[in-house]
Each structure stands twice: as C-alpha cells, then as structure tokens.
C-alpha cells in the first residue's frame, strides 16, 4: 500500500477514499466526500404520489431531507426497517439526501490505477451510474457515481434542470 501511496503522491494522482456499503449480495462504494453522515433509520413522513422507493422526508437538524431506499429502487436485499437499518446522508449539489442501504462496511482508499472499467451488466445499477470496479481483499467492489445517480431523472428526486421553471 505504501508504494501505491507514494506513487500516487509523486504523480499527484489523487488517491480517493470511498465508503463501501452493501446492497443485497453486492458490495458498492461511493466517494466519501459526498457523505455527510451515517445514521440509523428513523420513521419518516410520507409524501403523496411519490414512488415507493422514496420513503418520505425527515428532519435532519432543521432541514427537511428526503429518504430513498436504494434496496427498493434496485430490488435487492430486504426492505425491512429495524434498529440496524442504515441511512447514508449524502450531500449532492448542495442538497441533502438520505439513502437506505443494507449496511455500511468500510472506508477504503483507491488509487486511480486500481479502478478497472465497469462491467456492462450483472449489477443492480444501470452501468451509466458506475465508475468502475475494484478488488479489496479479494472482494469485488463496485464504484458508484453517486452524484449522477442521485440527480438522475430515474430517481426524480430533484426538479429536473430543464423544467426547473415553476409554472
């Protein structure tokens, strides 16, 4: 690892840190800079006419924050809510969004050359939201472009840019 680190330093290649989380059977990772905090699941206030994977909104110290259950969105894992259910609070484009995942495992550091191109198929995520693959301790980790996913039209969390104008 030290050689990698030196390598990264000498080439000024940023060694980025990722937070790994579990969805169903697979391990995913997202850029840790997007993570605001990790907390337990709390009951939310439902929002009418929102898709089922948008659980609702909750109060994060005075901010009204939407909660998305990625397990439901991608049909993996079991969408049950216990005291061990984990919510990752993300900060994307100045907005805060909470995502429910099966579990959070670790923080890993990856240099650019450790990341291989993403597969075209075989994971719950559409490949357009994937950054690449990496292997940590023989465990395959899928890197997710969380910013792109959260602001995607598919999740429809935000008003899409083109119809931002209020009528």
């Amino acid at each position: 690892m030290t050689s990698t680190a030196q390598h990264a330093l000498s080439h000024a290649v940023a060694q980025r840190e990722f937070l790994t989380f579990v969805l169903g059977e697979e391990h995913y990772a997202l850029d840790i800079m997007a993570v605001k905090e990790i907390r337990g699941y709390e009951p939310v206030t439902r929002i009418a006419n929102a898709p089922a994977f948008i659980k609702g909104v909750l109060n994060l110290r005075g901010d009204i924050v939407p909660i998305v259950d990625l397990r439901m969105k991608f049909n993996v894992g079991e969408a049950s809510y216990t005291e061990f259910t984990i919510v990752i609070m993300l900060n994307v484009d100045g907005r805060i969004v909470g995502v429910v995942v099966d579990g959070v495992s670790d923080v890993i550091a990856l240099a650019e050359e450790e990341v291989r191109p993403p597969p075209e198929f075989g994971v719950a995520f559409d490949s357009q939201y994937l950054v690449g693959l990496a292997t940590i301790d023989e465990q395959l980790v899928i890197l997710v472009d969380i910013e792109k996913l959260i602001s995607s039209e598919e999740l429809s969390l935000f008003e899409q840019k083109q119809n931002n104008v209020q009528e």
């Binding site: 939310v44 929002i47 009418a48 909104v57 005075g62 907005r95 969390l157 008003e159």
Partner: protein, 620 residues
Amino acid sequence: MSIEMEQFHNVFFEESQEHLDEMEQFLMELDLEQPDKELLNSIFRAAHSIKGGSGIFGFDALTGLTHVMENLLDRARKDTLQLTTAIVDTLLSTVDILKGILNSYRSGGDIDWAAISQGTEQLEQMLSKGVEPADEKGYGLFEQPVLGKVDDSFGFFEEHTDVAEDEGFGLFDMEESAVSETSEGDKADVVPASTEPQTSQAQDKGTASQPHQPTVERKAPAASVESSTIRVDTQKIDALVNLVGELVITQSMLAMIGDKGGLEAEERRQAALVELQRNTREIQEAVMSMRMLPMSFVFNRFPRLVRDLSGKLGKSVDLQIEGGNTEIDKGLIEKLVDPLTHLVRNSIDHGIEAPEVRAQSKKDSEGRLILRAAHKGGSILISIIDDGAGLNRARILAKAKDNAIWVSENPQDIEVWNLIFAPGFSTASEVTDVSGRGVGMDVVKRNIEALGGRVEIESEQGKGAAFHIRLPLTLAILDGMCVSVGDQVYVVPLVNIIESIQPLADQVRSMGNDKLLWVREEYWPLISLGQQMDVRPQHKEVTQGIVVLIESAKKRFGLWVDALVGQQQVVIKSLEQHYKRVPGVAGATIMGDGSVALIMDVESLATQVKSAPQPVQEAS
C-alpha cells in the same frame, strides 16, 4: 483582495449606500427658502463620510465628486449660497451618479468617468455662480433614453395627459436607449467610453439630467440584489440577550428540580415549564422582530420618484405616506419595491389627471397620492390610493374583447378590475416600454402572490382608485391547524379555515363520485385529504371524520380529515431545498416531537375541486 479587506469594503459599501439614501431623503425634505441647518449638516456629514471612506479605500471616483459636493454643501450651510431648485436637482443627480459609482465598485464594473466629470463640472458651475447653470448645455455625454410611449396601465385609466415623452424614469434597463446624443461632439471625444452602451452600468443611463429636467430616479440592477446584512437596533439585541439570560435561569431551575418526585417538586416543575414557554415565545418574537424593517425603507424612495415623475408629466402630486413605521419582514420588503414602484407610477401616469382636467372636474389642481401601510389582523395591508380618474370600465372591457379574454355577461366591477391582471393584456407597443424589467400588472400580481399576498382593487370613476396589497406578516411562521389522516399529521393554514365540523349523515350528498356537503345554506365540494395525500384514512365514512371548511382565493371547499390535532404556530421549512415541489404541499414543518409534518397548499388543493352547483348564491 484579502478577505479582511473585502470585509471592510463591504461595510463601506453598505454604509455609503445608507448615506446616499439618507442624502437623497434629506434633500427632498429641504425647504429652499429657509433650509433647516440641522438637515443641511446631516447631508454635509453624509457626503463627508463617503469622501473620507472612499479616500481610505482608494475609491477615487467617489472622493473627487463628493469633495466638490461637500464644498457646495458647506457653502449652503454657511449661508454663502442660496439654495435653488436647480442646485437641489444637481445635488440629487450627483447622488445618482455616486450610487452608480458605488455599484460599479461593488460589482467590479467599469467606472463611468464621463458621468463623474460631468457631475463635477455641474457642481463646480453651481459653486462658481451660485445660480442656475446653463440650461441647454446637454453635455452630450450621455445616452439619452429614447423611449416610446409608456402606457403600462394598458390604457385602463382615463388618460388626460400625453405621456409620449416618458423616459421610463430609469427604472428599466433601456436597451433601446443606447442611442446616444452627442450634441457636443468634442466632449464626447474626450471620454469616448461613455457613448458605448455599457450594460453593466445600465443604471448610469439617464443620469444626464439637464437641470431643467427633473432628475431621474434609478434603480441600479446591482442594488436590487438583496442585501445580505441587516442592521438591528441595539435595543432589540439587548432585549434578546436579556431573554436568553432568563432562558438560562429557567433551564437551571429545571435542572435543579431534576426528576425529583413529590408534590412540591411537581409544582415547581410546572412553574418552570410555564416560565420556559413564556421565554421561548418571547425569544421567538424578539428574533423575528430582528428580521423586521419599517415600511419606510420602501416608502422613502417614493417622494423622489413622485417628484420626478409628476414634474415630467406636468402634474402636481401631493404624496402622503402613512404608517411608515409599520414593520414588515425583511424578505418581503425587498420584493415589494418593484410592484409598488409600478403601481405608484401607474397612479401618477394614468390615475391622476393633469391640473387643467382636475380643475374642470372641480378637484384640487394638486392630485393626492397616499401610500399607506398598516397591520390588519395577522397581515399587513399596503395601499396605494389616488384621487385621480379611476379605472375606466368601458375601456377595460373593450380591451378584453380585443384580446379575446372571456368575460361574463354584466360582470361586477371587481371582475372587470381584475382583468387588468391578465397576462395577455398588454399590447405590443406597451410591451417594449416595460419589457426591460418585465413588469406589467400581471407581474405585479404574480410577485405579490409569490409572497403569499393578494392584490385588491377599488375604483370609482372620476374619484380615484386604490390598490390594496395584503401580505402575511412574515414568511417564516404560520398559524396552522394540525389535522390527522391515518398516522400522518398535516398542517392547514389557519387563515383559510372557516370552521371545522363533524357532518351529519343528512348533510352529505353524493353527485356521481363526488361528495357534497350542505352547510351554511351552501353546497361545499368535499376533498378527502387522505386520497390527496395517498394515505388510508382511519374512517371510511365522512360522518365519522371531521370536515374542515376552507376558503381559498378561488374556491370554497370542505377538506375531509380524520381528526383535528390542534392549533399551533409552525415554522415553515422548504421542501424544495433538498427535494422538489410536491403538488398540494406548500412546505413542511417540524413538530414538537421532531417529526416532519407537511403544510397543505390550499390554493393548489382548490384546483382539484369541481365547482359545486349553488342553489343559493349568498353564503350566510
């Protein structure tokens, strides 16, 4: 620029802006025959402060001009110079130039040196002669707004004045005004930059106020950026510090009692809780009051506007400002400026008639315009009242017909007046005048509604018109009724609620799939909140639940909920900040237990309602 320096600069900008506003206001108040010494001193001090500050920070453009201004003011206050209207006009236009420079410095734009040298020259002329400057010297350095006819009331007022020369009064970005007059070409050659249209300095256009013309009120684009700092009366802060002190005491009281049992401890605990409640409320009020500014912040700019505009139109208008001390939320104040300006312009332009016409109709030759602000219940009422010609019913109806806008037969006056808010009302020629800022009556209405307010019109032909703007006191806090459906709690704004009832079986009628409720001699269409919000209600029958009778701007309807939870003040939080707009929901709030409750948007719920047949028109 280092951060600290920038901080100082910002303070300087803020203060200078205040000084300039002050100067303008005081200049307007000056009695030319017997100028108030104290007033002159204040103006002098303001100019001096700007000069000093600009010298320190190296804003030379400001220093030079204020220096000459100061000289002039100094002579005026030492009685060696008799003030004339021309001098005051020049001083006012100097204030305008200074504002322009300040904005250029603030926004990092180019300095309009031509305007400065011209302003300096004018002032020096005043100094040397102490008399009127050569009137017809156009200086030629400035873009003369070349504008068409301003008729942004869309001709609904009886016009007795030809306003074809209306120059837009500098309130608009005048793109087409870039045609510059260079009557004195040599001057223009010295400072050629000034003849170029400088969009960043659009505010400087129109400053070429020749002394014989009324000076021009301008609203610089940069100035319309909401200021991010706020000045608070130290008394208010002291009061808050005091209250926080009390809060700390109450907290320690509660800590001392702790979870002790027994009757005595329980009594003390209750007392402390009552104290805590009082403290919280008072702190809330104190903090909210810091956001409040007196309406005079907006009103103070109107004497100048009215003076300039009426002078230009050859009308004489007496402006009366009432209730300038009425406090209103800072956020509202900044958004009120444009709509109010538009309405005042309209009143002078099209409401108040020319003196001759007024004499014919046996009115005072001086028209009267009242700007009034007052608290009315939980809201603020701002009125713009003139004693002019009033709205012209026939003309509005004709225009509606031209524009193919549907009007019912024999419409009531209110209905006719409201037609002027229709977006399609302006005709092409009018659009060009106002398009610079996009302000028309429909925009006025939209702006006010965006603030949660309403505009009402009263008008009597020949007697005058009144525009009433009703606004909530603050945007941040709402009196709400909490209602529950299933396991969810929703907040309905209290202002919209007429009453809440548990309906009897014979009050409920069905009409197809829709339900109607017969209350108060009226059929009320029913909406199920559970259905709207996709929540399963506790009760299947309306008669087991509660119906909240709601009045929106458009319709009246009944909202069927499971139960009333209680009435309380809620703090409005934006849902859009981290999520998106949800139909039927105005925002969210945080309840006492930390959970989130959605605040219903009554107006958008009303659009879901089909109008009920009304056998009896009058509601009791």
